[in-house]
């Protein structure tokens, strides 16, 4: 605060200058464009004269990442490689369990050379054994090796209508149905006292808070497998902050509408939709995890997993509908929309995860989910404060803690 006051005179001077006259009487737009134009000129000169050519010492190290592998059939292994370094790399040979093996490079323009940031697939015809670890090494032209171990390999199921249907079914069970069931608490929620309802809202916030941590840790864990050139950790931070600010922007716009007298904008339904979007994004990430595990042949679709997910997600239902408990009951289609928005992304995530999976996409979706969830927690707190004036009451804090604890307990059932 004190900083602002000391800054004020300076701000004032600047303003008076811009208001009065531009240097040399130039039009305002020239002042706006000039720095950019000069930057272009300097960059051009730099490229043309390359003043650092003599100073450049040595050469950068080759840097490549195998982001993930797929096993489309029992006689093929596919490595997904990205060149992180500033120089091109050439994959000269491939070692499978310390033996030179045939391979093809797909997606690198017909050769085995990857430009900086270029990605390619290295297809190795190898009759691997299910469950027996596979050590793969790419030998680059300068002899550097890039290694990857496929632990306990299993066939990836590949793309088919069957798989789409299976994933849709899983999504229905672990996403849509539990959220819908949870929403059936709505009539009950309408009857309870304000204090209890606020407790339920804070319980929902606890649920979401847990999910934010859960997804956040997972995003950073995945970020380690993101090729270095994409700065995995910063990508996650960007996803979180970006989603948070975007949703908050929508929310701020809504508040502006509400203040201007738009009754629809002031209803709890807005918050309900925001919660649904936040949970939906989280469930999208959950679907990605299921889908990618499925793609890697890692899912045992036992009843335990499905039951775990259902218990876990049923708590998300009341979180969605609690904000509208004090309003007039919205039209039924709103409930359907809320349920689909919150639950159905599991299906979408499953599809994306199984067919177009990459750690980069996975981590980014998780991060977006975290950002959205944080905003929703913020929103719920604001809602309770508006109605009650006090978010940090004993009941509310306890409800938040219970929400957190219930999620932790049910999370134990979900072993993916």
């Amino acid at each position: 605060m004190s900083d602002k006051t000391t800054d004020l005179p300076a701000d004032g001077t600047v303003q008076s200058e811009t208001a009065t006259a531009q240097p040399f009487g130039l039009p305002r737009w020239v002042s706006a464009v000039l720095p950019i134009a000069l930057l272009v000129v300097v960059l051009g000169l730099f490229v043309l004269t390359s003043p650092l050519a003599g100073i450049q010492g040595g050469e950068p190290l080759p840097d490549a990442t195998i982001t993930h592998t797929t096993l489309p059939s029992d006689d093929t292994a596919v490595l997904h490689v990205t060149n992180n370094g500033p120089e091109e790399i050439t994959i000269a040979q491939v070692l499978v369990d310390d033996a030179y093996w045939n391979f093809q490079v797909e997606g690198a323009g017909g050769d085995r050379t990857l430009a900086p940031r270029e990605s390619a697939r290295v297809v190795v015809p190898y009759n691997w054994n299910p469950g027996w670890d596979l050590h793969l090494n790419l030998v680059l032209s300068d002899g550097a090796t890039v290694g990857h171990t496929i632990v306990a390999p299993q066939s990836s199921p590949g793309f088919s209508a069957d798989i789409l249907w299976t994933l849709a079914l899983i999504g229905l069970f672990v996403g849509v149905i539990p959220v819908a069931l949870g929403m059936l608490w709505f009539p009950f929620l309408k009857t309870i006292s304000d204090r209890a309802l606020h407790g339920v809202l804070l319980f929902a916030a606890g649920v979401l808070g847990f999910l934010a941590f859960d997804a956040g840790f997972e995003a950073f864990e995945l970020a380690e497998r993101i090729p270095g050139a994409y700065e995995g950790n910063l990508l996650v931070v960007f996803g979180i902050v970006g989603a948070l600010l975007l949703v908050q922007t929508i929310s701020a716009w809504r508040e502006g509408r509400a203040a201007a007298g738009d009754s629809r904008a002031s209803s709890g339904l807005w918050i309900a939709y925001l919660v649904a979007i936040g949970i939906g994004l989280h469930n999208l990430a959950e679907g990605l995890a299921i889908g990618s595990s499925f793609a890697l042949g890692r899912v045992s679709l036992g009843a335990f997993l499905v039951i775990g997910f259902m218990l876990h997600n049923v708590t998300e239902g009341p979180a969605v509908v609690a904000p509208v408990a004090r309003d007039e009951r919205p039209a039924l289609w709103h409930f359907v929309a809320l349920g689909v928005l919150a639950g159905a992304p599991v299906i979408l995530g499953g599809w994306i995860g199984s067919f177009a999976y990459s750690p980069t996409v996975g981590a980014f979706f998780l991060a977006i989910g975290v950002g959205a969830i944080l905003q929703v927690v913020w929103e719920i707190a604001g809602m309770v404060r508006e109605a009650d004036g006090r978010v940090g009451s004993a009941t509310n804090l306890l409800a938040f803690l219970i929400g957190f604890a219930v999620m932790y307990a049910t999370d134990l059932f979900v072993v993916l």
């Binding site: 030179y100 045939n102 050769d111």
Partner: protein
């Protein structure tokens, strides 16, 4: 600190190149560019340069149910030809153009003089894989030197590499100043320094030379090693037969002496009997390309799979490649392999023949086999020996030989004789 003069090193390399090109001058199909293609040029491995060769590559033939084993593609750097190296000996009288050499008499002794120059050079050790080597006369293994028992081997050694080097011979050397180690004689030779080593060629056998600068592991593994073959002198064998057998002198009969002399004649390159033997040099070596103390490439004579097949469908059909092809041998000729183990990082290497048993002469210092009728022998680092093979009763076709450390075999040390 040795002064590093890259300009000078480049000049010497150029000289060596020119000699090499000169030696190929007669072959009009080979132009200078082809010979020097990829020499010292990082990135020459960039694929798709020689489209003719990529058509011939074995890379994308995944018709086999189990996928195809082996290195993909052919060698593009033709600076070193393992097939040529296999049967090339430098005797002072005759040898590689890239190894200046002469033979003359001095004080009643035959002198075989060689000029060896240590250079820094980029070599190709597997298709597309380059290795920053330190090499005698620009090749790994270094030139094979050959003398007759009792000769004087005079090596004019010049170091134009960036690091200090020596040449240490595995010979019976009675002058410690000539041992080629940092602690004796001239010690290590810095960049641009020279020294003339003199060694008496003794005992008869197959021997080894290498740089003995420290760190030893690196100086050997970077490529500073080669073979010295000392042919037995038949006259000396007749006079001192007990020097060439493990038996007690009392056991040596005149008939046995005759046999030993006859065997010595087959070993002596100046004798007519030697012409009937097909002699091959194999230096088992390995290369650690990623500095983890383990070799990524193993081979006999540097290049992974260079004596393998170019292409196979793994169903019994194969084709010779341009640079990867079996060693053709005449079934009616006696086959002799001079074998040395120059592998770094692994304590032992081995040599195993398929469908064949052979006699083995450890260090080649005896004229009777030290191991008879075996199909596998092991060698410690720097151990060497002579392998005598007879394919006269075998049907023509492919016969594999390789290190029986399966790992070494699959990393390149897997080769074939094509018996014709």
């Amino acid at each position: 600190m040795p002064r590093i003069d890259y300009g000078r090193a480049a000049e010497i390399t150029e000289q060596l190149e020119n000699r090499l090109v000169g030696s190929l001058g007669g072959e009009t199909t080979v132009d200078r560019r082809t010979v020097l293609g990829g020499l010292g040029v990082a990135g020459s491995a960039a694929l798709g340069l020689g489209s003719r060769r990529s058509e011939a590559s074995a890379g994308h033939d995944d018709s086999g149910d189990h996928g195809n084993f082996g290195a993909v593609d052919e060698y593009r750097d033709t600076h070193f030809d393992p097939h040529e190296f296999l049967t090339t000996f430098n005797t002072g009288a005759d040898g590689q153009q890239s190894v200046p050499q002469r033979i003359y008499e001095e004080d009643g002794r035959t002198v075989r003089e060689f000029e060896l120059t240590a250079v820094d050079i980029t070599i190709q050790i597997a298709p597309g894989i380059e290795f920053e080597a330190w090499a005698f006369n620009g090749q790994v293994p270094g030139p094979t030197l050959r003398a007759v028992e009792g000769d004087l081997i005079r090596v004019e050694f010049k170091n134009v590499g960036a690091h200090a080097h020596t040449i240490h011979p595995h010979l019976k050397n009675v002058d410690p100043a000539m041992d080629g180690i940092p602690q004796n004689g001239p010690g290590v030779l810095d960049t641009d320094e020279s020294f003339t080593y003199e060694w008496i060629a003794q005992p008869a056998g197959v021997h080894f030379y290498h740089c003995h600068s420290l760190p030893l592991k690196e100086h050997v593994h970077r490529g500073l090693y080669g073979m010295i073959i000392v042919d037995p002198d038949p006259e000396r064998v007749r006079e001192n037969p007990s020097d060439y057998v493990t038996d007690h002198p009392s056991q040596i009969t005149p008939a046995m002496t005759d046999d030993l002399v006859a065997e010595a004649e087959t070993r002596n390159h100046e004798s007519a009997a030697n012409d009937d033997v097909n002699e091959m040099v194999m230096v088992m070596n390995g290369f650690d390309t990623n500095f983890d103390g383990e070799n990524e490439v193993y081979a006999a004579n540097t290049r992974a799979f260079a004596y393998g097949v170019g292409k196979t469908d793994a169903k019994g059909n194969w084709e010779a490649g341009e640079t990867k092809r079996p060693i053709q041998i005449d079934r009616n000729e006696r086959q002799r392999v001079y074998l040395v183990n120059a592998t770094e990082f692994d304590p032992i290497n081995s040599f195993h023949t398929h469908s064949q048993f052979f006699d083995y002469y450890d260090h080649g210092t005896t004229l009777t086999a030290t191991k008879q009728t075996v199909d596998t022998i092991i060698q410690a680092q720097a151990q060497r020996g002579i392998i005598e093979l007879d394919y006269s009763d075998h049907q023509p076709g492919l016969y594999m030989f390789h290190a029986h450390q399966s790992e070494f075999a699959e990393l390149g040390w897997m080769s074939f004789f094509e018996v014709v």
